[in-house]
């Protein structure tokens, strides 16, 4: 999923939450594959390999969480844009809630450990 740059740990951590990140990006605005990859890089998730995005959005589409359409492009053939569905928004809301709980818990533990260092 990820290149070596971000390390194996980053890759493993992202594996369970990358779908939610993609849903969040598409919830902001409709995007196509390259835009999703660029947005992840801009957010500091450069360890995600661009190629892993395409199977993931296809999976989200197959689950009915994303929808897609082809729009003409000025620089070549049409591009497939992805947009979030109502089911996708519900899934995103649940993912955000879960992530908040997990992040708060992990953060508390890691901070306690750091004080003990």
């Amino acid at each position: 999923m990820a290149s070596d740059g971000g390390g194996e740990r980053g890759s493993r951590l992202l594996r369970g939450i990358l779908d939610a990140c993609l849903l969040a990006l598409v919830a902001e605005q409709d995007r196509y594959g390259y835009e999703l990859a660029a947005a992840l890089r801009e957010a500091g998730l450069g360890m995600v390999r661009d190629g892993s995005i395409y199977p993931l959005v296809s999976r989200l589409e197959a689950k009915g969480l994303l929808d897609s359409y082809v729009a003409p492009s000025t620089s070549g053939p049409g591009r497939r844009y992805y947009r979030i569905t109502d089911a996708g928004r519900r899934e995103l809301w649940e993912a955000r809630t879960t992530w908040k709980q997990v992040a708060t818990g992990v953060d508390a533990i890691l901070h306690v450990s750091r004080q003990g260092d």
Partner: protein, 213 residues
């Protein structure tokens, strides 16, 4: 981050796209769908190359594994479908066998021997397991070497044979009574389940190809 030196990846991109195209041309993607994906991918690789990133950095070391993963992602494995095809095949086999036994000279009337039931189960399991194994292999192709996949397939086949042999030994000498109306009902039910599965599969395939909404 320091800007990376740019170099031309044109030839490398062509090779990767060609390998991916060769793989997808053997799958059930329509030509339009395949070309659309290839165009999108080529544009992505070219833009990445302009930023100094190689096709390998974008797709990973094995472009065919990437192609297989993307292909498998658009049709998640359906356990409901596997159960339907298993039950459908089983009911059809038992019903048809019960009817055949009534007309052939060596038949035993209404009685369907237990060991012949194993044949029905074997056919059903074989369909279900084959479908599951095929989809699992496609989805996780990048994690296995060709050799380990072959070894896994052979071991899986042997285990299946062993299990069926065991069930056959247990059911040998036993049997169930299936009167002809019951056999007809089994055939109708089996055919209905199989037809329903085929219809669902076709609709899912049509949706994937954008034929329906």
């Amino acid at each position: 981050m320091e800007p990376r030196p740019r170099r031309s990846y044109g030839a490398e991109i062509d090779v990767q796209i060609e390998r991916i195209d060769r793989y997808w041309s053997k799958r059930d993607l329509t030509t339009a769908e395949r070309y659309e994906r290839l165009d999108e991918l080529r544009e992505h690789l070219e833009r990445a190359a302009a930023e100094g990133r190689s096709p390998e950095e974008v797709l990973g070391p094995d472009p065919v594994a990437f192609a297989a993963e993307w292909d498998a992602a658009r049709r998640p494995y359906s356990w409901a479908g596997a159960v339907m095809i298993f039950l459908g095949t089983l009911l059809l086999s038992v019903g048809a066998y019960a009817l055949i036994l009534r007309v052939v000279p060596w038949g035993e009337g209404d009685r369907v021997p237990g060991d012949s039931l194993v044949v029905g189960v074997a056919v059903g399991v074989a369909f279900g397991v084959f479908g599951a194994a095929q989809d699992a292999f496609r989805a996780y192709r990048h994690r296995f070497s060709r050799r380990s996949a072959r070894v896994g397939a052979v071991l899986g086949g042997l285990l299946l044979l062993l299990g069926l042999g065991l069930v056959w030994t247990l059911l040998r000498g036993t049997g169930i009574s299936v009167p002809w109306p019951a056999a007809v009902v089994l055939i109708v039910l089996g055919a209905a389940l199989t037809a329903l599965h085929v219809r669902w599969s076709n609709r899912a395939r049509a949706r994937r190809r954008g034929v329906t909404s």
